[in-house]
Every structure is written in C-alpha cells, then in structure tokens.
C-alpha cells in the first residue's frame, strides 16, 4: 500500500530550480533511498514534503493531501523527519525529547493541561528507545550524549510518534563504520516493522545495502530509480557522481 505519494514536486529558490517535477512513492514497510551528489536537492525534498519549504506539486500521505498543511500538522498526520544537523531539544532529557513528539494534544487538551501534570504513557517512547538501543540513556540530557547517540535520539524522536512515514536526513553522517552498520540494521528492522522510510544519505554503501528501492536526484531532477543493483550500474548515476571521464573507475563493489 502506498504511504507517501509525491507528484510533480517543484521548488524554486529565487531563480534557482532546486527541484523540478519530482515523483516519488514509498510503500508500507518499504525502505526507499534518496541519493544524489551535493546540491542535488535531497534535503530540499524532505523540507518540502514536511512543510518547511514552499513547493508546487502534490504530497499525499496514505491518500490524504498534505500540500496545504503547516509543518506541525503534517507531523501529526504521521509524517516524521530527522535533521542532518540533529536539532534535538538540548534542554530536555532524551525521554522528554521523545515525549514532545508523542504528546499531540488539541487546543482544548492543552488548556486542560495548563492545570495538571500529565504523565504520558511512555509505551511509544520506550519502544522507540528500545528499537534504537537508547533505553539506558532515557533520563540523560540530550547534550550529554555522544554525536552518534544524538543522531540516534533524533531518529528515535521521529519514530516515537509512530509515524506512517519517517524521513531520515543523513542519519549516518559522522558515524564510524561499525555505527553505520548498526544503524543500517536498525533502519531495516524499523521498515520491516511496517514503517515506510525515506533515507537520504551520502553513504552509498549503506543506502544500496539496506534499501528496497533507490531514487537518484541530480540538479533537482530524478535521473534514475529502481532496485539498488540496477541503480548502481546505471551509467547516468555513475556520470552524475564521478563526472563522465571517471566513469570507468566506479567502485562496483561498493556496499557489498
């Protein structure tokens, strides 16, 4: 079943066309990789579907049109995202970071909350922390953690809200090889658990090894899409990454 369906998305920054006419679909339990050279528009795509950048085109989540909703409303309808630069709430503990994402309350509920402490059923938070191996850190402050752990908290915060779709912006950047492999396994487990996942990363090895489907962007256009094996050998992709002249030295073994 299709969870995310993006049709004809275009984004302009002044005169620069950052995305032009991009179509992407992500199905339930599917892990879709979005790759491309620097400046290809990967982060812009996530910003656009999550409501942080004005765009043209249609964004549907499980059949519902999100195009006109503000960012927080999209999040509440099940579109979660992480940030390349992590962006945790530094003044809160890990558990509180997750709780903010879980407690989606109406205005009425918020007014009521003004007058009583609310203990959230921490089930969703706990599950997310377990999935990412962070249970021991729940009561620590976000600032106390290592870079890798902070990355994972970012993912956990997105996951805790039990989204239909989770968009990960370079979750592996700054992690070492072991941590990357570990992250890859956890992402795969998340997707297998039913969460549709869109993974943006520079690590071709990671993307090609864990994703079901890969989309390649270059200069804001989709230049290739398909299963990882097909994309790896696609000449257009090789050219985009390495330039025409270097096409022969493409590391065919990457990711295996």
């Amino acid at each position: 079943m299709t969870v995310l369906s993006v049709r004809g998305m275009s984004v302009n920054f002044g005169g620069v066309q950052a995305l032009s006419n991009v179509d992407i679909e992500v199905g339930e339990g599917q892990l879709v990789g979005l790759i491309g050279p620097n400046g290809a528009g990967k982060t812009t795509f996530i910003d656009a579907i999550s409501g942080f950048v004005r765009c043209r085109g249609r964004v549907e989540l499980s059949g519902r049109d999100l195009s006109r909703l503000p960012a927080h409303a999209r999040a509440r309808r099940g579109l979660a995202r992480t940030w390349q630069s992590i962006e945790l709430f530094d003044d809160l503990t890990v558990w509180e970071n997750l709780a903010v994402a879980v407690e989606h309350t109406s205005v009425l509920e918020q007014l009521r909350e003004m007058f009583r402490g609310r203990v959230v059923t921490p089930v969703a938070c706990q599950k997310a922390l377990e999935t990412l191996g962070l249970s021991d850190h729940a009561q620590r402050l976000a600032t106390e953690l290592s870079h890798a752990e902070r990355k994972l908290v970012g993912v956990a915060r997105a996951l805790a809200a039990q989204p239909r779709l989770i968009c990960l912006d370079e979750p592996a950047a700054g992690l070492d090889t072991t941590q990357r492999a570990d992250l890859g396994r956890r992402l795969r487990a998340m997707a297998d658990g039913g969460t549709a996942t869109l993974l943006v990363d520079h690590d071709m090895g990671l993307v090609l090894s864990v994703c079901d489907h890969v989309v390649v962007l270059d200069f804001g256009k989709v230049i290739a899409a398909g299963p990882p094996e097909a994309v790896r050998q696609n000449p257009a992709v090789v050219t985009a990454y390495l330039g025409g002249a270097a096409a022969e030295v493409v590391p065919t073994g990457a990711g295996s």
């Binding site: 910003d47 942080f52 004005r54 927080h72 390349q84 992590i86 009583r116 870079h147 700054g174």
Partner: protein, 694 residues
C-alpha cells in the same frame, strides 16, 4: 507656516542626537553583534562629565570648553573599554539575549551611578554651540541646530567612507560576515569589536555633550533616547550609517512637529493639557513599521555562537519547599514590624510579576519587556473600576486581570513573527508608549499623582492593608493583605514550577530550544507561544492588582519601562528559568526586603540596589548564566562552567565536529545553516532560534 518651518528646523537638534546614538548602536552591532541598550547611557555619561568638569563639580575649579569636551570623550571611551572587556568580549559566543541583557546591565549601572554621583536633580548644561539665530523663510531659528545636524551628517559621511574604503572598514565587514573566515585571514574580531565600540562611544558621547544643553540632562532622558535611536537603526537594518542618520533626523523632526501640533486647538487634550505620550506612541509605531517594512529579523552575523540559554531544571520537592516558605512568610508577616511587613508583601508581589518573566522568557525564550506594562493596565483598570464605576472587590480585580490577559494575547498575536532580540526592542518601545500614553494620562491612567485603589472586602471582611488585625506591633499595613499576597504567590509559584513538568512545559522548552524541530515533532509553535503569553500576562495582571491593593494606589512609575528593565535584570540575576529565581528577584525588587533593609540600616537609597542589580546582572551573565537559584542545582557543569574557549579552538572543534565531533562542539552555525537546504538570504531571525516556522 513659519511656525511649522521653525519646528521642523528645531527638530534637527533632537534628530541629531537620535541619529548620533543610532550611529553608535549600528557601530556596536557591526563590530560585535551586540544591540547595546546602553548607547544612550554613554551619551548621558559624557553629558554629565562635561557638566561636572565645566562647573567644577570635582575639586571646585572648572575647565574651559575644549579640555572639558576632550576629557568627557575620554571618559565615554573608557566606559566603552569597560563594556568591551568586561562583557562584550567574554560574551561573544553567548546567545543574543544574553548579550542584550548584558547591555541592559550597563544601562542600569550607568544610570544608577550618575544619580548616586551627581544627584537626582536635572542639570543645566551651558551650551557649547553659538547661540546666534538665522532667519529662514521668515522663521528665526537658532543656528546650533544646523551645526548639530551638520556635525552628525559629517560623522555619517566619514563613517560611510571609512567602512567603504579603508582596510579597517573592510575588515569589520568581513568579520561580521564570517568571524571564522576573518580569523583565518589574520583579523582579530576582538580588536575590530573594540575599535567599533570605541567609535560608538565617541560618536554618542560627542552628541551627548553637544545636545545635553538642548534636552534635559538627567538619568532618564538621554539613556531612553535609545528607543528612537533603535527605531532609526532598525530602518537601516543595523547596517547603513546613511539610513540611520536620515531616519534619526527625520524622527527628531517628527517629534518636533508633534510639539508644534500639541499647541494647536485640535490636538487631543487631557484635563486641559495636551495629550501626553504621543511622541512615545509615534516611536513605537515607527518601530512596528520598520519591523514590517524592513523585515522582523535582524541581519545575521557570521559569528560562532553557542545558542544555549540557561537550563530549565525540573523542580523537585515542590510541596515541601512551598509549605516551608509559606509558613516562614506567614510567621514573618505577623512578627515583623510594619515597615518590613510592607517590604515583605512587596517582595511577594515582585516575585509574582517576575514569574510572568519566568514563563515567557525562561520557558519560551521570548524576551518581552511589556509584561510590567500589562500589570499596570490591570492596576489602573482596577483603580478606575473601583473608583469611577463603583464595581466592588471580587468582580473588579477579575475584570482587571482578564483585560491584562486579553491585551497580552493581542500583543502576542502581533508579536508572533517577531522574536528574540527584535521582540525585546518592540516591547521596550511598547512599554514606554503605554507608560507615557496611558498611565501618565490623567483620564485613563493616574496622571502624575497616581490613582487610588480601595481595600478589598469579602462579605464585609476587610482583606486590605487597613484590616483591623495589625500583627504584633499593631500598625498598618495589616498582615491580612500580606496573607492574601502570600497565598496567591505560593499558588502561582507552584503552578509555574509544575508547568515545567507537564507536557505543555516540555513543548514550551522545545519551542525555546528549536522552533523548527518542534514543528517537525508536531508541536504547534504558534499555539504554544500564545498560551505562554496568555499565562504570563495573566500572572502579570494578578501582580498589578496586588500592587494596587498593597500600595493603596497605582502610579505610572511603578509600571514604567525603566522599572521593567530593572525587573528583568533582577530576574536574570535570580535565575530567569526558575520560580526560585523569581522569589530571589522579588526580594531584591524595588522597595522589597533587600533594598528596604539596605536603606533602613545603611542609608543606601534604591539607586544602590539598582547599581548592584545592574552589576550583578553582568557578573551573572559572565560567571553563572543560571542565576543565583540555578547555582544550587547539581548539574551546572553541563551548561556554563566550560568557560569560553578561544575562537580558533572553537573553529577547529566546529570543523572537525561536523565529521567526527563529540556532541555539542559539532553544533556550530555552519551546520545549522546548511540544514535548511535552502540558500538562506539571512540567518533566520534572532539566532537564538535556528530557523523560524512559517
């Protein structure tokens, strides 16, 4: 028509002063990224020094004009050196709000120092500029106005040329684009910042000396010219000297035209006098227009900042602490003599008003100066409901608080797109306008004398300060009202402290930490801010009503902008993120226990408390951003005691942090900027919040 021309030309005098202070503001901002609220205070210091040197205040023999001017300018620059070395430099990497608060500390310190040295009375300064007049289109105009305007225009031209063509100007521009790159290019941001601050002090000091004979030389007039000067600087987006100068001169002319208009029969009057506060209202409107027209965000500076605000700890053992404090206070109210009883009650009310700052500034990170003016609105509404409309106790304070809350919400709606430092500027202008236009107004406010507030009665029982139960010494005020204030203070304190533990409190802190990430986590940033403004305004309204009942009347000064700035300083010193901090701030607020004891036992006036408060604010920001209350929490190592590593060290850790950094060091500005994925034309809004939510 001749009169109109006369007033236009007369306005050039004030205009030159505003422009000069505006130039100082822009210079400091370009040099160090600080919006220096004390720029007008530097002009005041120079003015006072000049007066003192000329009249022989020190040692009895006066200097002639030229040496007096030179020495005064040296003193003004000395103040600049102190500001730079003691605060601006060590706070370079602090949040914009911390920098603004530091300059507020200097403003208060300088004001208090001038009053303590030279006394309360306004000084008559002998004019330096020739007193000749010229006749233009039939209007006889003093020539000094032209000379003043000419001087400020020449200064502007020189600054423009220096910044455009000299190596120093290029270096300053480069450093404000990217401090990191400037360091690699061999420039020292510290030196650049110092030179710019000195220039700023020189310019504003010179204008202070020259214009102090035109305006009143006291501790309020010149320092508060910072507000119109900020308006001029806003039009220039804190960058262009030419626009700042033009806007400053025009604002002066506009104010002068209002003076002319107030002599006309059609001008609105208040008890036979021209309506007060129109000028302040005009400046406020100009600032609002500037914000909308020129953009609510200040131009970004490429500085390496740590955007941390003071930590918000989870309150522990609330019930126990609250009950102990309540019992101690209750006993003290009965046992203490009447004067200390009054001071204790005022401390409680001071704690309540500071709690409104804890919610809005501590929890949500929005520095709003206007909260005290909302207290004032509640106080004056209460007074008028009781006196003019005859509406009795339970109903009138409820209406008063409700009106303050609604007004606060309206402010919030209009302020939603304005945040951080910009919000502080707008709300400062707003509170000045409300003070002068509403509170000083004899019809709506209390005029100069204040407006009476009758004691509250419930079913015939007097709850006010004149209740029959008089404590141990049998004097007024009665402890009964102290109990009322105590119950309210404890209830609100528990509420605010508990708020930190609720989901709403978490969302507030999430919004404070990172608006974009909060929105991505499904938090409706706008609603959270509105609710916070509502809660904060409600608390402020309650405090205003309590002030009214305790003092028996409400007056403009009690709720004025100057008082609000002092309270914010005290709140920072106490710990802006904690109710304990609010209690501490309450104890040192005006006429509260601490200043009262100082005055009674040591004969030190409230100005000493303000002086100490101002300096304590700077020390707090430097050494212990958590405030006094925060210092007792166990985890201070995390947020403040890391010291201030050198710029280069930060750069290196920032650069490597992107690849393999360990936690906090990786969070430098470049990482934030690229994450937006969009070519950001300017660093979004106040850099305290990485990115705004549309």
């Amino acid at each position: 028509m001749q009169l109109v021309i006369l007033f236009i030309l007369l306005g050039l005098g004030t205009g030159a002063l505003i422009a000069g202070i505006g130039l100082g503001v822009v210079l400091t901002y370009r040099g160090s990224g600080i919006i220096n609220l004390a720029t007008g205070a530097v002009a005041m210091v120079a003015g006072y020094m000049f007066w003192a040197l000329q009249t022989g205040f020190f040692g009895g023999y006066g200097l002639t004009t030229v040496p007096a001017v030179l020495v005064s300018l040296v003193v003004a620059m000395g103040v600049g050196v102190v500001m730079e070395v003691a605060a601006f430099r060590p706070l370079r990497a602090a949040s914009p709000l911390a920098k603004l608060a530091a300059s507020l500390g200097f403003l208060l310190t300088l004001q208090a120092a001038m009053v303590l040295i030279f006394g309360d009375a306004a000084k008559q300064v002998k004019p330096i500029l020739p007193a000749d007049t010229v006749t233009i289109v039939g209007a006889t105009v003093p020539v000094d106005r032209f000379i003043l305007a000419g001087i400020v225009i020449v200064i502007t031209a020189v600054l423009f040329a220096v910044y455009r063509w000299s190596r120093f100007g290029l270096a300053t521009r480069a450093a404000s684009e990217s401090e990191g790159a400037a360091v690699y290019a061999g420039l020292s941001p510290n030196e650049l910042s110092m030179v710019n601050t000195l220039l700023a002090c020189l310019v504003s000091g010179l204008l202070g000396i020259l214009a102090s004979s035109l305006v009143q030389l006291d501790s309020a007039t010149l320092p508060l010219q910072i507000v119109p000067a900020l308006a001029a600087a806003l039009f220039a987006r804190f960058t262009s000297f030419v626009i700042t100068c033009t806007a400053g001169l025009l604002i002066g002319v506009a104010e002068s035209l209002l003076d002319y208009a107030s002599t006309q029969t059609w001008f609105p009057t208040d008890h036979g006098n021209p309506m007060p506060g129109i000028k302040e209202l005009l400046v406020f409107l100009i600032i609002v227009v500037a914000m909308f027209w020129r953009g609510a965000s200040l131009p970004g500076r490429g500085e390496l900042t740590e955007k941390r605000l003071p930590f918000v700890p989870q309150p522990e053992k609330l019930a126990r602490t609250a009950s102990i404090a309540a019992v101690v206070c209750a006993v003290a109210l009965i046992v203490l003599p009447f004067d200390f009883r009054r001071a204790l009650t005022l401390s409680l009310v001071g704690a309540v008003i500071t709690m409104s700052f804890v919610v809005i500034t501590g929890y949500v990170g929005q520095l709003s100066v206007v909260q005290l003016a909302l207290s004032g609105v509640a106080g004056f509404v209460l007074s008028h409901l009781l006196t003019d409309a005859g509406i009795p106790f339970p109903v009138s304070p409820i209406i008063a608080v409700a009106i303050a809350t609604v007004l606060g919400l309206l402010t919030a709606v209009s302020a939603l797109r304005v945040r951080g430092v910009s919000l502080a500027v707008v709300t400062l202008a707003a509170s000045l306008a409300i003070e002068q236009f509403v509170f000083v107004n004899g019809t709506w406010g209390g005029g100069n004398g204040g407006s009476p507030v009758a004691s509250p009665y419930v079913f015939g029982v007097d709850l006010g300060t004149d209740a029959p139960f008089r404590g141990l010494d049998g004097a007024v005020p009665s402890p009964i009202f102290g109990f009322v204030a105590l119950v309210i203070a404890v209830a609100l304190g528990l509420y605010v402290a508990n708020l930190r533990r609720t989901g709403l409190g978490r969302r507030m802190i999430a919004v404070r930490a990172n608006e974009r990430a909060a929105a991505a986590a499904g938090v409706n940033v706008r609603n959270v801010k509105l609710i916070a403004f509502g809660i904060s305004s409600f608390i402020a309204g309650v405090a205003g009503v309590l002030y009214g009942y305790e003092l028996g009347s409400v007056s403009a000064v009690r709720f004025g902008a100057q008082m609000a700035l002092g309270l914010i300083a005290f709140a920072y010193v106490g710990g802006i993120t904690m109710v304990y901090g609010a209690v501490f701030a309450g104890l040192i607020s005006t006429e509260a226990l601490f200043p009262y004891a100082l005055e009674k036992w040591f004969g030190l006036s409230g100005n000493w408390a303000l002086l100490v408060g101002g300096m304590a604010l700077i020390v707090t920001l430097l050494l212990n951003p958590q405030g006094v209350a925060g210092a007792s929490y166990e985890k201070p190592l995390l947020f403040s005691k890391t010291g201030h590593p050198s710029l280069l060290a930060k750069l290196i850790s920032g650069a490597s942090g992107k690849g393999a950094g360990t936690g906090t060091s990786g969070q430098s500005v470049p990482a934030q900027a690229t994450s937006a994925g969009a070519p950001a034309p300017e660093v979004p809004l106040a850099p305290a919040e990485p990115g705004g939510v549309r």
